[in-house]
């Protein structure tokens, strides 16, 4: 075979491979709810990626199937690595997820990478609260992360338990505080308090010799074992999963007076997905009829009447606080960096 023949074979192989693995033609997206439903029914099963665990998965899948007749396949994503993987794949044209819950510190990056589909959420679903729609038009807030204090009720009585963040720096808890090493709980507080008060607070927290733990699950296990008496700043949903499975667990929850929350499940439709209409429909469902299922995962909206979160807030007389969508992305990274710097952790750029 001549050099030219080899060249032709190689070129054909490259072209063939490119055609074989190239993303298919982009699916049409409906402009009205009726059209979205019509198109969604013709799409393959919806692929979603969220951090859900436990009964919320089966309950929402069942309810959505009943309402629209559309099947949903769930993929668990946690932390940054999973979302970065989805982003990396999308950047190179490989889209395996139709709807993704993007964590706060990556939301800017997903938008600037151009991998998301813009949706007119309020036009399609007028019942949605406008505050739950990101002004950039990409994200729809559905699940809410709330950050609580927890204590081991075998070691600490309800009366002695900390009531607010300032109690965590009380020297009486020295060496008895557990803290999750990813300071998500303190991001909103950092924005509310400002850098100076935050630095002062986290210096005092560090002086209380907390035990830093690398995953929420381990934080909870060591609290239940009695390694420390209290945990300051942990996502309620992590404890909810444990309490759902074991109501007699020795872990009790305190809703602090200053109650930081933020959109935890910001759902966005991936460009190039095979079921974009189903994705829109599902996100809208989770922001309206399906929102009640967030009670099962501890991610309901503390400002919405009838939710578990609202009842907790009301009972504790707490003041929920969220700095809005602008506290995502870069603002969250800045706050995270500032907090872990005070804690003495190595920090990136």
């Amino acid at each position: 075979m001549s050099v030219h023949s080899w060249g032709r074979v190689a070129a054909s192989l490259c072209l063939g491979s490119a055609l074989l693995f190239a993303p298919g033609a982009r699916a049409e997206v409906g402009s009205t709810l009726e059209k979205v439903i019509e198109l969604a029914k013709k799409e393959p099963p919806l692929q979603i990626a969220t951090q859900w665990a436990g009964p919320i998965i089966s309950e929402t899948k069942k309810a959505f199937q009943e309402k629209y007749g559309i099947a949903v396949e769930h993929q668990f994503v946690s932390g940054l690595d999973d979302r970065e993987r989805i982003l990396n794949e999308a950047l190179t044209g490989r889209v395996t997820v139709d709807l993704v819950a993007v964590s706060g510190d990556l939301r800017d990056k997903f938008v600037s990478a151009g991998v998301l589909q813009k949706v007119d959420w309020l036009k399609l679903f007028p019942a949605i609260s406008p505050t739950m729609v990101n002004p950039n038009g990409y994200y729809l807030g559905t699940g809410i992360n709330q950050f609580v204090i927890a204590y081991n009720n075998k070691l600490v009585s309800a009366a002695d338990a900390p009531k607010n963040w300032s109690d965590c720096i009380d020297p009486k808890w020295k060496g008895k505080v557990g803290v999750y090493s990813r300071p998500l709980a303190f991001v909103q507080l950092y924005i509310k308090w400002g850098p100076e008060r935050s630095t002062e607070y986290h210096t005092a927290l560090k002086n209380n010799q907390p035990v830093w733990v690398s995953s929420p699950n381990n934080v909870a296990s060591l609290l239940a074992s009695g390694e420390y008496s209290i945990v300051c700043g942990i996502g309620y949903q992590h404890l909810k999963t444990i309490l759902y499975n074991d109501p007699s667990s020795p872990i009790s929850i305190v809703v602090p007076k200053e109650y930081p929350y933020q959109v935890g499940e910001a759902l966005a439709v991936m460009k190039g997905g095979k079921a974009p209409n189903s994705a829109i429909l599902f996100a809208g469902f989770m922001a309206t009829d399906g929102a009640k299922y967030y009670d099962l995962f501890g991610q309901s909206n503390p400002l919405k009447e009838g939710t578990e979160a609202q009842a907790m807030v009301s009972k504790a007389g707490a003041e929920p606080f969220w700095a809005g969508w602008e506290s995502d992305g870069k603002a969250q990274s800045v706050a995270t960096r500032a907090v872990v710097t005070v804690w003495g952790f190595p920090t990136g750029r």
Partner: protein, 590 residues
């Protein structure tokens, strides 16, 4: 002088025959190309990323900023020094344990040596994250189950504190875990040398009236020192990369080592800083290359020693008298701390609805509910299938490649330059942490031209990543085994008309079966418990059991504990099979 000149003018200069050279070295060239691809992809990608800004798939341009930032970090040198010291201390303790136990099971009349042999390698079955978290629950200073027992025991002796006496969340805690984790690898690497040692050296010492201890310290140990140091260096390199223990017990005590420093500076704060991560990877790799150089020098000596062993003698069994039972007790103690205790706390967690410290009250909550959940998970079937496919694929491909590579290197087939390059390249992955291999493969196979291969998102890319990581150990194992097989056997085959390939497959490979099988099982066990590479390269279609376990660990610890128990129970028979094949290998070599 004249005749020489005449000859020089008469004889034509010999031309380099490229076609002939290629045909003579075809197998070597193909294998070297495969290894070069496997090594160059991650290493090359790492170096390029370290010099780029932005996302590695879509860089913004070239820069040296990543290096200047990394090197200006105030804690970098301090952390590096701490990591070095922890790894050195951990390895030294591992060496004492491993060499001591290798001596006991191979050279003494300690009772139950076969059982001891098996239980020494069982810890290999326990995934690092479960082992580390198990010890965090056992020896956390306030509530650790063992600390509670120790306080009760020491109380009559005047110990009144409510804390301790042991704090696993410390540098010494890290060293402790590191030392236990390193034992199995060192043991597997040195135990053969103990079995194959020429007894005449020791007999000469005994004849010279040396005591048993003097003989051991002055003859046995020095004779085996190259093999011991080589194994120690290998283990030290692995310790430097150690991550799970550093995260589970280092972080709570505020102790950062290199791996956790890299993790926190590049992966905890979004967006992930690929450039900085790559720089740390390159710096780490340079350090490891230095260590590899030392390691390879040690290997040279150890292999020279091992060659002496093919004489068909059996080492003398040394009677240790009444110390026999104390020795067995020491091995039992090792089993207790390396396997039994962490497994027990894992089993305890798996039987509860949520974690509680061991107590009679908590005993009332024990059930098999978590196991029922694990076995009724709809994802389980597909995940187990993927895991089995990955295990078979990785173990077979890695060992096949390791066998051919070792054969080419040891038998010095083909060009010395290419063989030398192959020998160097095949050890390079030891210097590249798994997480770096995974990131490099992800970027490489998501971007052209490799994106056209279509292997991203499949089991194949996970198998490739694991094969790269395990090649250094497997080639080391096969090198040692091939050295034992006399060349004359293959030469006899050539004389009978066999080709090089036929001789390799029909003569050498069957003789090496025990080593091949031992390596195969070692890879299989490590594949099943590996986290870092499958986590980075897994997606919806290629999820394996370890990733499934990790996801559960993130969601609900008791479920993950149940999965860990199942995994370990599955892995233990595999490790016992490993013992059987290694034993067979030793008998064959003897």
């Amino acid at each position: 002088m004249v005749s020489i000149e005449a000859n020089q003018t008469v004889l034509p200069a010999k031309k380099f025959d490229l076609v002939g050279w290629v045909s003579r070295n075809m197998l070597l060239i193909v294998v070297t190309a495969i290894i070069a691809f496997m090594v160059v992809v991650p290493v090359g990608r790492l170096i390029i990323s370290s010099l780029q800004e932005g996302h590695p798939a879509f860089p913004d341009g070239w820069t040296l900023q990543n290096y200047s930032y990394a090197l200006s970090q105030p804690n970098f040198i301090e952390t590096l020094g701490r990591t070095f010291w922890i790894a050195a201390a951990g390895t030294a303790l591992s060496l004492i344990w491993a060499v001591g136990m290798a001596f006991l099971v191979e050279r003494t009349d300690m009772p139950l040596r076969n059982l001891a042999w098996a239980i020494i390698i069982i810890p290999m079955a326990m995934p690092g994250i479960l082992f580390a978290m198990g010890w965090a629950l056992l020896l956390s200073p306030n509530s650790g189950a063992l600390n509670v027992v120790l306080r009760a025991v020491l109380s009559p002796l005047g110990y009144t504190s409510n804390v301790g006496p042991i704090n696993i969340f410390s540098i010494s805690g890290l060293i402790f875990l590191d030392s236990i984790r390193g034992v199995t690898t060192i043991f597997l690497m040195v135990v053969g040398s103990f079995r194959m040692m020429d007894p005449t050296l020791e007999e000469a010492a005994m004849v010279s009236k040396a005591s048993r201890l003097q003989t051991f310290m002055k003859v046995t140990l020095p004779a085996l020192m190259p093999a011991i140091l080589a194994a120690g260096m290998y283990s030290f390199i692995l310790s430097m990369e150690s991550f799970e223990a550093a995260l589970a017990v280092g972080l709570p005590g505020g102790v950062f080592v290199l791996s956790t420093m890299i993790y926190f500076t590049t992966r905890v704060q979004a967006p992930i800083d690929y450039g900085l991560a790559a720089v740390y990877g390159v710096l780490f790799m340079l350090l490891m290359i230095g260590l590899l150089y030392v390691y390879r020098r040690m290997i040279r000596h150890s292999e020279r020693y091992t060659t002496v062993t093919g004489k068909g003698f059996r080492p003398r069994v040394i009677s240790i008298g009444r110390w026999r039972y104390a020795a067995l007790g020491a091995v039992g103690f090792y089993f207790l701390i390396s396997t039994a205790l962490p497994f027990a706390i894992l089993l305890w967690t798996s039987l509860l609805p949520s974690y509680r410290a061991p107590s009679l009250e908590a005993l009332g909550l024990v059930s098999f509910q978590n196991f029922v959940k694990v076995f009724s998970s709809p994802e389980l079937t597909e995940t187990v299938w993927n895991t089995l496919v990955l295990m078979l694929l990785t173990a077979t491909a890695t060992m096949a490649l390791a066998f051919v590579v070792s054969w080419l290197i040891v038998r010095k087939h083909g060009s010395a330059v290419v063989t030398g390059a192959l020998d160097f390249m095949v050890f390079m992955p030891l210097a590249v942490p798994g997480i770096v291999v995974a990131t490099a493969l992800m970027v490489a196979f998501l971007t052209p031209p490799l994106s056209f291969s279509g292997i991203y998102g499949t089991i194949w890319i996970v198998a490739l990543g694991l094969a790269i990581s395990y090649l250094p150990f497997c080639t080391r194992l096969m090198n040692g085994a091939i050295v034992q097989i006399h060349k004359e056997l293959e030469q006899a085959a050539y004389v009978s008309g066999a080709t090089v390939f036929q001789a390799m497959i029909r003569i050498t490979l069957p003789l090496l079966f025990p080593a091949f099988a031992a390596g195969w099982i070692w890879v299989a066990v490590h594949t099943l418990r590996a986290f870092a590479i499958p986590l980075m390269l897994s997606s919806r279609d290629n999820k394996v059991f370890a990733v499934f376990l990790w996801e559960n660990w993130e969601q609900y610890a008791p479920n993950a504990a149940a999965m860990g128990v199942v995994l370990i129970i599955f892995l233990i028979p595999l490790t016992l099979l490993l013992r059987r094949f290694i034993s067979q290998l030793s008998r064959q070599q003897g």
